[in-house]
Amino acid sequence: MTTESVLEEWLHRCIRCSTCKYVFRQYSPSCPSGEFYRFESYWASGRLALGRGLKMNELDWSDDIAEALFTCTTCGSCEEQCQAPHARSIVKIIEEVREQYVQKVGPLPRHKAFADNVAEHHNPYGNTHHARGIVAECGLPTRADTAFFIGCTSNYRETSIRDAAISIMKKANVDFTVVDEHCCGSPLLRTGQTDSVLELAKHNLAQFEAAGCRRIVTACAGCYRTLTQEYPGLLGSFDIEIVHLSQMIKELIKDGSLSIESEFPGHFTYHDPCHLGRHGGVYEEPRDVMRLLRLDVSEMSLNRANAWCCGAGGGVRSAFRDMAESTARERIRQAETIGADHVITCCPFCVNNLTSSSDGEVDVSDLVEIVDRMSVANPRQRARESE
């Protein structure tokens, strides 16, 4: 799928100075796989060197290199820390090498399994596809200004996030529908299985257009990254605005469409999902919403561009569960260190991995679940509903 080779463009870069390994000038760990495995090959600099070795035929394409190559969560922290000219291309280079690996050696078995599921069921979990069924179930219009792109993790695993998102938009009287969405392609893009992604993107765009949507809103950080960063490259420019639900919620609260009536006691912290923060540049809106909710919030020392990854992304949770869980436990530990009893995030995949790796000391929720719990429709909307 890659047309211009980023690997070739940056082939002779990276002296392996280790700057990618730690938060620059703060000196805290930044790379989940490097911290877990510790060998040089598991940090960004090691992977770039592997890519170069493969390109220069100093290494053979074989499954020997799979673990070093596929344990990167593509969280992008290395890109924030690296001070060299190629900094902003590190994740792209890793993804390109993965793509070549899949072409030459084949996908990792666990990754292939979810790609097969996407092909057969349109979602990586292999659940029965039912996206559009929600329209009837929730009494939504079939055409609307806004499409709620649910995302597979919300739709088939963390369904309370999906339900909360729909509930919030209904309370705020948003004109929205749900289209016959297929997987956005994110898990395939991250794991080098790029062949079918263009088809997925075309399908989804056709659905948005058929439903007359001019705006897509999603609560999933991974979908948000793929829709905003990858779809334009795949499909060319298209005239549909893409927002993350946290951005929309902020506006809905501010313009009075949603009223916050209850309180939520506890000590909260916010975990930046990598796909939303570093890759999408959305750091402040979720925090603004938490302020509007009047939650008692403290920051973990690694936040925003330096946030520690939850460990799930890049196909790591499916293929390297130990590392994913150990990384998540570290994030939970960071939350505990500041005395937080509740971690809020904006990504169903982060919720999933953090929750399953937590010993229960800290609650983990998606922001939309908290907003739904604390909000009511504005008085006008309530009056309309009671008519």
Partner: protein, 474 residues
Amino acid sequence: MGLVDCLNDIVGPKYVSDRVPERYLYSFDMTENPPQRPAVVVMPENVKEIQQIVGLANETKTPLVPFITGQNVGGLTIPQEPDAIMVDLKRMDRILRVDDDAMYALVEPGVTFGHLRKFLDEHHPSLRYTYPLAPPFTSVVANALLQGLCDLSTRHGAMADFVNGVEVVLPTGEVVRTGSSILGDENWFGRYPLPDLFGLFSGWQGMTGIVTKMALQLWPKPPFIEHAALFTFDEEATTQLLQGLVRTQVLDDADCMSLSLVKMLLGVPPPVHAMEGEPDYGTLLSLSGSTKIETQQKLKTLRRIVESPEHGLSRPLLIDWDAITALMGDQAASWVDFPSDAFKILTEYDGLTWVGTYIHPRNWGAALAGGRRIVEKHGFELMAFLKPMNGMHYGEFKFIIRFPKDETTVERVRLCNEELLDHALDQNAIPYKTPVWAAKKLIARADPEFVNLVKRIREMLDPNGIMNPGRWGI
């Protein structure tokens, strides 16, 4: 049982790898020195595990190569013999103690400059260590073992001079300590008055044992620090002026570099070349004091020397740091906040190398001028770096080359470095962090009895020749 199984038993399988990626990654570094793959990489966590690895290496006559981050810029972690065990010491990264009274830190080999700085800022804010112009995540211990240079070297000398003592696993497996800590765990205050056994490990590039602890001197953080920039012309004039400035004893440090390096810091894209009429060198001068008046007076002293009429037409310029800040913006503060981010100008490609030496002050200017001609002849960017060392008892200079590691360029780099080294040796300069090819050239010219003694000591300490064999070409 095979080697890998034995190592698995010692450190656990998670920290042993004979897989292709690790063997490949540990086979080369950023320099032009030829690669060689180790048989296996192992990551011990404590002294006992290191002792067991050393025992295994003796039994099987397997070479051991200590590694921390591999950024020595001399190919020093590239195995010189096949089938070596690479001993990556990153997991031993504890700062064991900071002694506020005797002002030292006791650290394990995996501790990096960045981590030490963070630890001191958080727990001992009145103390500072000293930092090279290296990336922040290189090893403090390896740097001291390699006798590197840092941002207090102009005042205090090479980093090995800051070592109070070490704990070492000898090539035969015993654990020994050098210095005052022979009288107890909380007693790492110095090396004297004792036979100075640190010399058995300092400058040996991992050939005489694996250092597991090192005590390093810290200094009180001065309340007032000033910087200024000095711009100079011509090699002889520059080195002479630096000698005069350092002999006033008001400077903590002086980093002198080809103007191209300053231009790189200002963001000029590669290749950066000298322009007619511009100064040849820019020097970052650092000084400190207990009061503002003290630092101002020190600056005045420097200014008096710089502005003396004897400099003739090519007058040096001393510029206040405020003016530099106006020119460079945030980069100015970042440059002088060590571990500095100035190293980033050396991360342009995948290749970085240098010929670096310590040299008699008398030969400093001539060495620099000759080196410049060689670099220009070979068509590389002019990236000289020099530092007055230890109160100007000696000088340092190196010619840095940043380069893409394609075959043709690597060959050009080799030729240039060889010529630079021959030239430096002609000036009786001693190369530091010597790759094998450079050490061989040094040995060929050195007093043979010195070389014999080095060999005898090595044989005595390491009868099976397991520690980093082939280093120094011996």
